[in-house]
């Protein structure tokens, strides 16, 4: 007997007919589901091609994100790799049978066929192992973050059946008299093993039924790509990504005032107000719960879980989605979010759960005026969230002894002090350290005297009107002066200037102070003289790390200091201060204390960070743990300044 693929071997005609009927049904059901869901999301077909671009690379990055977790990642990769190989194999078989053989050609012959058999058996094995791992996890480990519904296990059992029945069929084929004594059948090493167990069976009687059941399993599995959580797979390729950096404005203040029309919706007033991609995202989520594990609010027993937010809004969409979406989320939930973005950088399919919270805030604040802190009122009236007079800032800055920006005179660096730097006693010390550092390095810099809030707080808390008013005012301010770079001390100002302002035509060369220090160190302008014998743990401000990928620069600066030993916390978590967290009274377990405990595990002598909120949150946490004065929290620039002697 020739070494080649025998098509539809032992498959009677009724089986083939049944197969086509089942497949037709499955396909019809699937297409109907696709139609229903696409109209539910309100997919704009014209947007789809641009969404599909670059998806293969994204898929690889997705697997990489999954593999950050060993068990869950491996399990998924095995299933995906196996499935893809099996899919390609099936396509090849179909190609040969339905196309090539009609013109008298074959590809699955000889050694190529044996290699094909080996590869496909391996793929099937990986797939089955992956599915078994998933079943073990669902049935025995049951991680807290998973919902563990019956449906989850049922789908896995179906997949397992698909895999195993495939091997049983192969085993039966190889146990049939036509093949059982061929020496080359061992290439199909799994099927061969099965065949030895099935030898005595009257294979020809059994085979058609196993074949039919395999076909049935597939006929069920295909519509499940639409009707069950397996839809995360196709939707991953269709779902637009919503970057942390991009918070599209629901309206443009200038246009509204000019056009004198209020014909727009703001925030999560209803699900209809969301873009189709954000609606589709709700359905794409597979509820893996990785976002929940990464959420600092969830860890601190707050009512918030990003997975829950997506699940509930998704449920609302399925139930018709016309009702007020705001009611699906509790205010307490919405205000527990620190906008750290960890859920976004963790999601293996690149969804943005935080975005729904921001949209809910926009609805609560912009439409209803419900904001849990007076900080925004202060920004509106006093120009800073502290509610302190403008004159106080000016008088403090006078004492700084630095140059003020002058119109028509260019400076290398325009230093944006920010509200914390101007009003918070601790942050003022950071400003002093940085300004004296810059003065010593002969960097030509100036400060502004008349700046007010950057608006970041207003935007993250959901007041889009106030935010855009602030942007307009600051745009005028920046027009007055010329500078090579705007340098910020606060990652929140930094992110706002860098990522929020361009939407309103304000494009600046913005640098965080750690980037500036890193540049100065790299160019040799900073000569680190004194050794600093200390074990320092660096805490990443979320608005540098998660929003702007600035995490190697501050570490680089710290490493340049001789004697300094840089250590790391096991995992990144937010200090709890972002997204208004510093301004909203928290009850119960506090995120800053938990984060401090993470950092203490690294046994540091000092905590270094690069954000006034983080510093404030950790100093508070140190107080509540009775460690005040025992451990210092310093900005990277303060650490550097002390090493310059």
């Amino acid at each position: 007997m020739a070494v080649q693929r025998e098509h539809l071997f032992m498959v009677p005609g009724w089986d083939v007919s049944l197969h086509y009927v089942l497949m037709a049904l499955a396909l019809a059901l699937t297409l109907y589901g696709v139609y229903r869901r696409f109209s539910m999301y309100g997919v704009k077909l014209i947007d789809l091609p641009s969404t599909l671009r670059g998806r293969l690379g994204l898929a690889l990055r997705s697997e990489a994100r999954l593999l950050r977790e060993r068990y869950g990642g491996l399990m998924h990769t095995l299933m995906v790799a196996g499935l893809i190989a099996l899919f390609v194999g099936t396509i090849l078989v179909g190609l040969e049978h339905d196309l090539l053989m009609k013109v008298g050609q074959r590809i699955l012959v000889g050694d190529a066929y044996l290699a094909f058999e080996f590869a496909l058996d391996l793929a099937g094995l990986l797939f089955v192992v992956g599915v078994l791992m998933a079943i073990v996890r669902r049935v025995f480990f049951k991680p807290d973050r998973l919902e563990n519904r019956g449906e989850d296990v049922a789908i896995l059992l179906l997949l397992l059946y698909g895999g195993l029945s495939g091997f049983v069929m192969e085993g039966l084929r190889l146990a049939s008299p036509a093949f059982s004594h061929q020496p080359w059948i061992t290439a199909s090493f799994v099927g061969y093993a099965f065949s030895r167990a099935l030898l005595g069976l009257s294979v020809e009687d059994v085979y058609p039924y196993v074949w039919a059941s395999h076909s049935l399993a597939m006929a069920i599995a295909i519509p499940l790509l639409v009707y069950s959580k397996l839809r995360h797979f196709p939707l991953f390729f269709l779902c637009p990504t919503y970057s942390l950096r991009e918070l599209k404005a629901p309206f443009n203040l200038d246009e509204v005032l000019r056009g004198r029309k209020l014909d727009f919706k703001v925030g999560l007033e209803s699900l209809d107000a969301l873009s189709w991609g954000l609606r589709l995202s709700l359905d794409a989520c597979v509820k893996c719960g990785r976002c929940q594990d990464a959420c600092p609010a969830y860890r601190a027993n707050k009512v918030l879980s990003p997975r829950e937010v997506v699940r509930r809004l998704g449920g609302l969409m399925m139930a018709g989605g016309r009702g007020e979406a705001g009611s699906a989320l509790r205010e307490e939930e919405v205000w527990s979010c620190t906008t750290c973005g960890e859920c976004v950088v963790t999601c293996p399919i690149f969804l943005n759960p935080m975005r729904y919270i921001i949209e809910a805030r926009r609805h609560l604040v912009t439409n209803l005026g419900r904001v849990p802190t007076t900080a925004l009122f202060n920004v509106m009236i006093m120009g800073n969230p502290y509610g302190l007079p403008r004159s106080e800032k000016r008088s403090w800055m006078k004492g700084l002894n630095v140059d003020y920006a002058k119109e028509g005179e260019e400076v290398e660096v325009l230093l944006w002090i920010g509200c914390a730097g101007a009003y918070d006693a601790r942050a003022q010390r950071v400003v002093k350290a940085l300004t004296s550092l810059l003065a010593r390095l002969n960097v030509k810099f100036a400060v502004l005297g008349e700046e007010e809030c950057c608006g970041e707080l207003a935007r993250r808390l959901g007041d889009e009107v106030l935010f855009q008013e602030v942007v307009k005012r600051n745009a005028e301010l920046f027009k007055k002066y010329s500078f090579k770079a705007l340098v910020t001390l606060c990652p929140h100002c930094y992110n706002s200037f860098k990522n929020d302002y361009p939407e309103f035509g304000v494009r600046l060369n913005v640098k965080s102070h750690v980037e500036l220090m890193h540049e100065l160190a790299a160019s040799g302008r900073i000569k680190v003289g004194r050794a600093l014998d200390a074990v320092v743990v660096y805490h990443d401000p979320c608005y540098l790390r998660n929003y702007n990928d600035v995490s190697s620069e501050p570490r680089g600066v710290l490493r340049a200091i001789s004697g300094l030993k840089l250590v790391e916390a096991a995992k990144h978590f937010c200090c709890g201060g972002g997204g208004g967290g510093s301004w909203i009274e928290a009850e119960g377990v506090r995120m800053n204390v938990q984060r401090l405990e993470d950092l203490l595990e690294a046994k540091p002598d000092m905590i270094a960070t690069a954000c006034p909120y983080c510093i404030g949150m950790f100093e508070d946490a140190l107080k509540s743990k009775g460690l005040e004065g025992k451990l210092e929290v310093k900005d990277v620039c303060e650490v550097l300044a002390s090493a310059l002697g």
Binding site: L257, L262, G369, F377, E392, E450, V465, L466
Partner: protein
């Protein structure tokens, strides 16, 4: 149903106002204006009464057009209508002339039940307006109101809490009544951002501008002409440096404290 009228003033933020000792005037340059802080509490009180008893809230300010910003903010907080009482002839008014003009405007509003003012303004701090307007309208007036306990709409009686030096008085008054409230009696709500836009975009719907003629004011009783008082001179009170020392609790610290208090002639 209750109709409330709230009088507000758009004032320079005095925390930022400095004094020019040479010229004897206030330096207002570059100083932002704000709603007089207790007036925010007055607006809040009116809005919460509206929520409880129904009715309408009118906000009124006698000022140059710059005060529109403050009136719109009041609309954003929830006021139904804002009235800008503006006329060159109002200029130079003291509290008497101001109260006269405000009373005329309130009469024009018509059926008012509770008129609310902030206790005093941060830029002149007289505390006159509430009582004077009450007198001019010929209705009861109560100052230093801490809260409105109850309004019996049917029998038109209001029960108020009034803060006095050694406690709280509970008063009952007939409606209409003029009250004034101090800063901090409640937490003013956040002006609803979308309503701020609405007040801007659909200003005609929310804001009316009235002149002396609109309210039928006697031109001898308004502005400089109607003001018997004059500002002769402004003197800056010398700043006294406040010092603070922090010591650990100890016998030495206590005796130091006693010594200091004696030095400062407190003891």
């Amino acid at each position: 149903m209750l109709n409330m009228v709230v009088g507000i003033k758009w004032v320079p933020d005095t925390a930022d106002v400095r004094f020019d000792p040479v010229r004897g005037t206030l330096i207002r340059e570059g100083v932002e204006s704000i709603i007089n802080p207790p007036d925010l509490n007055a607006i809040e009180l009116a809005l919460s009464l509206k929520e409880k008893y129904g009715g309408r809230v009118y906000v009124i300010s006698m000022a140059p057009p710059a005060a529109l910003k403050g009136l719109k903010m009041a609309v954003a907080m929830g006021a139904d209508k804002a009235i800008l009482l503006t006329d060159r002839r109002f200029a130079g008014a003291d509290t008497l002339a101001t109260s006269y003009a405000l009373a005329a405007a309130i009469k024009k509003v018509g059926s008012y039940d509770i008129v609310i003012f902030g206790e005093e303004t941060i830029d002149s701090a007289t505390g006159h307006i509430g009582p004077e307007v009450g007198e001019m309208l010929g209705v009861p007036h109560v100052s230093y109101v801490k809260s409105v306990l109850n309004v019996d709409v049917a029998s038109r009686v209001v029960e108020l809490e009034r803060e006095v030096e050694d406690g709280v008085e509970v008063l009952r008054s007939k409606l209409p009544v003029v009250i004034s409230v101090g800063v901090g009696i409640n937490s003013p709500r956040y002006p609803i951002p979308i309503r701020r836009l609405r007040a801007e975009v659909e200003a005609d719907k929310y804001v009316e501008t009235w002149s002396a003629d609109t309210v039928g004011a006697d031109s001898n009783r308004i502005g400089l002409q109607g003001s018997p008082t004059r500002v002769v001179k402004i003197i800056a009170a010398p700043m006294i440096e406040r010092r603070r020392e922090v010591h650990q609790h100890s016998r030495e610290a206590l005796s130091l404290l006693v010594r200091r208090l004696k030095e400062w002639e407190v003891l």
